[in-house]
Amino acid sequence: MADPASFINWGLLALSPPGWGGVLLSGFVASIKIAVGGYAFGLALGIGGACGKLYGGPILRDLMECYTTIVRAVPELVLILLLYYAGTDALNHVLGLFGIGTVDIGGLAAGIFVIGIVQGAYSTEVLRGAIKAVPAGQIEAARAYGMSPFKVTTRITLPAMLPYAIPGLSNLWLIATKDTALLAVVGFSELTLMTRQAAGATKSYLLFFCAAGVLYLALTLVSDVFIRLIERRARRGFVEQS
């Protein structure tokens, strides 16, 4: 035990038992799945929310305002607990009313839903700001040549607002990858929970939490590469100051 080389037992990270590497990786994959799903769901909510806030009637606008205000005011951990337990409860209640009986909502679907709801509130605000940053003249030009409101949105407004939205949306993606860790509290087998189990079982806390940290870091670094590519593409029409 006094041998410094064996201070860290790398064997514990082996992919197959008794190593815990495989468990960690499966947790990592689950985290990524939730992050991607939750982010995409949140983005869809965000586009709807932003359009609702900008173009909707007074009632829709108030609804959206409530949504973004509440979600952004309540701590995410609380929201996750609330949505997860209350959400599944409510769903089963509703299903019960229709006589369908209870369903066991998969952790993945619930996780995506919960992260998506949180992300949706923030991306609503990011997208709303970005849409407002699109020069009004470009939208006016689209209308002047006979585009329908739907075409104006899909052909002009959304692509034109991307460069303004991407910094905020990139941050949201990175936050989404880290928010998945909060799902550990509801027992979802994502990376953080798996790490805690591995560490608890082996008492090698430092090793496993460092390993998890490296995985999160790797995800961030890879994301950064993609973000940079997407941003370059979105800003293709911009003259860059050097």
Binding site: P135, G137, Q138, E140, A141, A142, R143, A144, Y145, G146, M147, S148, K151, R155, I156, P159, A160, L162, P163, A234, R236, G237, F238, V239
Partner: protein, 288 residues
């Protein structure tokens, strides 16, 4: 006589006509030689809150007309032009494009709104608008800008749209720049691209709102050359401009707008050489 003709004759009394110099004399065979009405605006009022910007403006553009609208800053020129394609909704009055009146209904306050959105969208494709600040779509290349409306509004095939677009870009001298993004072009080039974009929908009428006002002086000429070219081929257009010499050269009818009404109108020689109203006299002398 059809009902439509009767309505048109009735219009004549309270409507300012833009006479096409080439079609005089024409009394006897009025309905035979009359070029079709491209645009007919009748008694247009526009109010922004308490400010009444247009106080009953009527104007008819026949096919082949080149009408220049002049007037001081804030006289309502842009507002008038924007009411023609309903970018600005009139408080009252009517607009007809190619004989088809845009159907409007009360908007619940004291203005109007189109009662048929599809009709407005369809009629807008007859109006090629060119803006003071170009308003090119920044996320598209010049070529993509030009084919956008033909493909996504008119439903043309991409290949056909590209063929037309390239011909138009060649015509405005921008063929080499077709794959560049707007922000990388000079103002003059952007405005020429915007003109190509407006021409691409093959509009019945071109509408220009001070197309050279945002340009550096040395770039004005290249844009005016393109517009002059269009006027020379008898393309119908309504042009708001501060370039008096240009207006005089290309327009067959000048409209002087002051304080929300047409103070005076007529052929360029009359307007510039023999202005009648005090205001027009003052305006003409102020710009010389």
């Amino acid at each position: 006589m059809t009902g439509k003709n009767a309505a048109r004759q009735e219009n004549q009394g309270n409507c300012f006509h833009a006479f096409n110099a080439g079609s005089l004399p024409r009394r006897g065979s009025y309905f035979m030689t009359e070029p079709a009405q491209a645009i007919a605006v009748t008694d247009l009022h526009k109010r922004f809150g308490p400010l009444e910007v247009l106080k009953g403006v009527s104007l008819t553009a026949r096919q082949g007309d080149v009408i220049a609208i002049i007037g001081g800053s804030g006289s309502g020129k842009s507002t008038f032009l924007r009411c023609i394609n309903m970018l600005e909704l009139p408080t009252s009055g009517s607009v007809a494009i190619h004989g088809e009146t845009i159907s409007m209904k009360k908007d619940g306050r004291d203005g109007l709104q189109p009662s048929d959105r599809k009709q407005v969208e369809r009629l807008r494709t007859q109006l090629g608008m060119v803006f003071q600040s170009f308003n090119l779509w920044q996320h598209m290349t010049i070529l993509q800008n030009v084919i956008e409306a033909p493909v996504h509004v008119l439903g043309k095939s991409k290949a056909e749209a590209i063929e037309t677009a390239e011909a138009l870009l060649r015509r405005v001298g921008l063929f080499e720049k077709r794959d560049a993004y707007p922000a990388f072009l000079s103002g003059g080039q952007q405005q020429r691209a915007a003109i190509a974009r407006a021409l691409a929908i093959q509009p019945l009428v071109m509408l220009f709102d001070e197309p050279t006002s945002a340009l550096d002086p040395e770039l004005v000429g290249e844009v005016l050359a393109v517009i002059g070219d269009l006027a020379a081929e008898k393309r119908t257009m309504i042009l708001v401009t501060h370039e008096m010499k240009f207006a005089r050269n290309v327009a067959n009818h000048i409209v002087f707008l002051a304080d929300g009404v047409i103070e005076e109108q007529g052929p360029p020689e009359e307007i510039f050489d023999a202005p009648k109203s005090e205001r027009l006299k003052k305006f003409i002398s102020s710009i010389h």
